[in-house]
Chain length 260, copies 2
Amino acid sequence: MAEAIGVFDSGIGGLTVASAIQQALPNHRIIYFGDTLHLPYGDKSSKNIQKYIKAISAFLYEMRCRHLVVACNSASSVLSSVNSMPEFSSITNVINPVVDKVAMNMGIKSVGIIGTKRTIHSKVYSNLLQEKRSDLNIYELATPLLAPMIEEGFVHNAITEQVIHEYLQKLPKVDALILGCTHYPLIKTEINRFFDGKVQLFDAPKLVAQHVVNCVSERNTVRDSEDCFYVSDLTNSFEKTAQLFFGHSIHLRKSDLFEL
Amino acid sequence: MAEAIGVFDSGIGGLTVASAIQQALPNHRIIYFGDTLHLPYGDKSSKNIQKYIKAISAFLYEMRCRHLVVACNSASSVLSSVNSMPEFSSITNVINPVVDKVAMNMGIKSVGIIGTKRTIHSKVYSNLLQEKRSDLNIYELATPLLAPMIEEGFVHNAITEQVIHEYLQKLPKVDALILGCTHYPLIKTEINRFFDGKVQLFDAPKLVAQHVVNCVSERNTVRDSEDCFYVSDLTNSFEKTAQLFFGHSIHLRKSDLFEL
């Protein structure tokens, strides 16, 4: 039986990562958990996010997931402080694979990072980058309106361009930009256009999927059951938005994990 | 001892209402509860919002509030289905005072309503308006990006205008517009400009405050203690945003009501 891969996010943005993992490992079962009841994590305190991580990890482990992917930057940024996690064979966050890729590229001398307030204020990207490449010039910028804008479907219109411009004009000249939120791959084209294609963009989905591929021991397995997508609170609009992030329509199931 | 007034919202937008109540009843103590842990309610299921309303109402009643103001459209829209509420002397929501004011104005033949997805899909405004004025033409429009945009402080710039334009151009010609979200008073000027001042705008704060004034029995009382502002989760950014909504800086306290 193939080792199932548990993917979780505060909402449905992590489906961009789940989709990349599904393409890289089509024979492995993915169990996704979107904590839509507590979305967005970007505004939550570390203490509460840590509680949610523990509860969701235990749930995914009970569902026989042996690989955990924390497909949420806010959760990834506090992950190391969570004690007594279940014994997964591997835990992949969305930050390290991206940081490693950027750090290895010696042509990059200056890098910008955009993300939610929580991700940026945590300095998780800049601290890790600095450890690996003390010569790097690093510029961080919180861009909190981008995620709700993308969820609203404003991904290829004048508002998208204007909001991107309003934020990114604040950055000094950089060689590379890290898209530090799982929503942002959906506006990668527009961000690329803002920079006239002159800035290298780094985002999580493919790099995280590659990391998971390296962690999984048996690749030529046969899947024994379908992927499964849970959310902690279900409303009509989520299924529509889920399609935007996953690339095709999926069935969302309501989990009772956080019922009062 | 003055009867305290409990005001609650999913977050800090309800502070626009609390501020209007404070101005109308300066001698009454206000206890505010912002359920920032579960914010935004606009994306939550009715069942969960009802649970939060029960818990917060009980908390405010225990804090000796005798008047309850549900300063949140999403919560107001499901309020009538909540069973066994504490015995407040009065319960004011943010919907009825606005609906009553619009319905009484016989010069208004067509009205638009904007709000979160939840508020609009609940049809709470249109059902109430139709009951009172079957001759009204009513047009509803979900404008979910407005609230996060305002929270981000984009209230008087080009993005504000563009997002307002993107949404409001979808409305047919109306005589009046109901701003069905406690955040929207902050962009009233910009909305007014979009309509060249030719559409009457109706929002909650002053109308709700007037309703509370009518409910409170003793007006010439002396306040025995300061106003108090609780949130169910506290991060740095809330205090800054709170100032935007309340008009001046306030001290937010963390409540343990929803601790896991």
